[in-house]
Symmetry: C2
Subunit: 313 residues, 2 copies
């Protein structure tokens, strides 16, 4: 089974307004709807869309839990969250106007996770995640959860042979590295922060990626936004150039990439096929206005255009 | 009794963010709270703060009704609303950042009022509002309510001798004029739209105000923002200059003015005292950052600074 773990779940409230958002005027709502927020839950949506069984878990605030569960169930995602009583799941406002210059995102911190809530999730992961399973941890930590507690959760998911796939940053990522996760997916800045060095060329990246591979991480993926990615596996590092698409909205591309990558692992794709699939799927997302939209059909057309080169050149 | 009637109630969700609201970044919430939206409910808050008995009525969406009732009860307002099942009361987003250049207000239209909901309010007004009562109608119409239906509600409130005080605009105000309300309070633009003329001087305004007084409206008040107001009553029109204050936030000043005015009517203040009181109360609001904050103590200090001149000069 694939488990996605969202520790700081969110519900996106997407608001389209008429005209350009301005101060001191009545900005009128054209259309508003709720969408799933929280990185790992998005990965679940991608997997479910690809018909790959998975379970979304993590923490939710009990007050508006039903809203999030409903959104996930509409997308075919099976849920098994730990709810903390008396707390709301945070809402992220995503405001879009007619300027076409990107959205305004307004985020709350989320509720503070109690010790017993944490323990419930630790126990669940320890019981459920077994040999051959994948556990995808993605997104930020909620208030009240420190690096040690985060590592305890990762350990619980790994202790019976679960494979950790981490899309996280900063101190969290650094502290998780010691557990030798199966895969990590930082972006350029996050990777440079992780290795504590300014890196300028693909070869410089490749050399640092190889060190992590040698330390026991199976997949080290550094995403470069619209420039593609660097993928390290075994003894090799590859420079991956994405297909050229007309970018409409790149929000959510990273989550689609992770979903495609995990889908590839689950289906035991050969490395090259897996890279092509995840990259093309992510590119198909960039062509769409909605944050959680992507097209497996379009990805199939785009796969052939993905360029993969071994490094150093 | 004083009844305030809000046909398009709203709950303000006030959000303070860190830094300047910008696109394509994570704007973090510093502080967020709910406040009362909807003009007539604000008038109720002013009256209750001045310890003047009043009842807030109108339409609310049943889904989040409790939130609004709680906010009103915290301010000591007695509520007697008609709730429409299955609908949410609209939420207005008020976003404030560190720029100090005014807020971003994002408004929804509100739910569409059904025929039976309308009929319930019509009956309530007809039964409750009697001789000597005031009925304050303020704010916009909800979707699904046309000018004729609006006038039916006004008629219901007036039929046993209730006095209508209207803070509304456009077609609504025009159609209400035929009922000879007790008082109207348009601003400059709204008044010019009402009389269908461009007005340039105080004397030109005075001449039009007098026509409405002669047609049977007891009080015609044209508010001029920070420039004060024109007040017509009996055979006279007065130019009212407000005290000089340091304006921090003028949102809500109009509602405080109406609240002060109705409080004055209720307490049978002489005209001059009533004008001084409402104007000073409104000025005390402008000195405060919050939309529903004002200070009766400060207003007392400011009353003497209000200048009242008879027109034409």
């Amino acid at each position: 089974m694939i488990y996605t773990v969202t520790l700081n779940t969110a519900i996106d409230r997407v608001i389209y307004i008429d005209g350009i958002l301005s101060r001191k005027k009545n900005n009128k709502v054209k259309r508003t709807f709720y969408d799933i927020g929280g990185k790992a839950t998005h990965v679940s949506v991608v997997l479910s869309r690809l018909r790959i069984p998975n379970i979304a878990t993590g923490f939710v605030g009990e007050k508006n839990k039903e809203k999030l569960m409903q959104l996930l169930e509409e997308k075919g995602v099976a849920c098994d969250f730990i709810a903390q009583a008396g707390c709301p799941t945070r809402e992220t406002l995503v405001i879009l106007d007619d300027a076409g210059e990107g959205s305004f995102m307004i985020t709350e911190k989320g509720f503070s996770v109690h010790g017993d809530t944490l323990e419930k999730l630790r126990r669940k992961l320890s019981e459920k995640v077994t040999e051959g399973d994948f556990a995808v941890f993605a997104g930020s930590l909620p208030p009240g959860l420190d690096g040690d507690q985060y590592r305890e959760l990762l350990q619980a998911a790994a202790e019976k042979g679960g494979k950790l796939i981490l899309d996280t940053t900063g101190a969290q990522l650094r502290s998780a590295i010691r557990l030798k996760p199966y895969a990590i997916k930082p972006n350029e800045d996050e990777f440079q922060e992780l290795v504590g060095k300014r890196l300028n060329t693909p070869d410089e990246y490749a050399s640092e990626i190889k060190k992590l591979l040698q330390a026991g991480i199976e997949y080290v993926i550094v995403t470069l936004g619209k420039k593609g990615s660097l993928v390290g596996h075994g003894d090799e590092v590859y420079r991956v150039l994405p297909p050229k698409v007309k970018e409409v909205n790149d929000t959510g591309c990273g989550d689609v990439f992770v979903g495609g990558f995990v889908a590839g692992l689950h289906q035991r794709f050969p490395l090259e096929k897996m890279i092509r699939f995840a990259t093309a799927l992510s590119a198909s997302k960039a062509e769409q206005p909605e944050s959680s939209a992507f097209s497996p059909e379009r990805a199939e057309q785009l796969e052939g255009e993905v360029v993969i080169r071994r490094l150093p050149a």
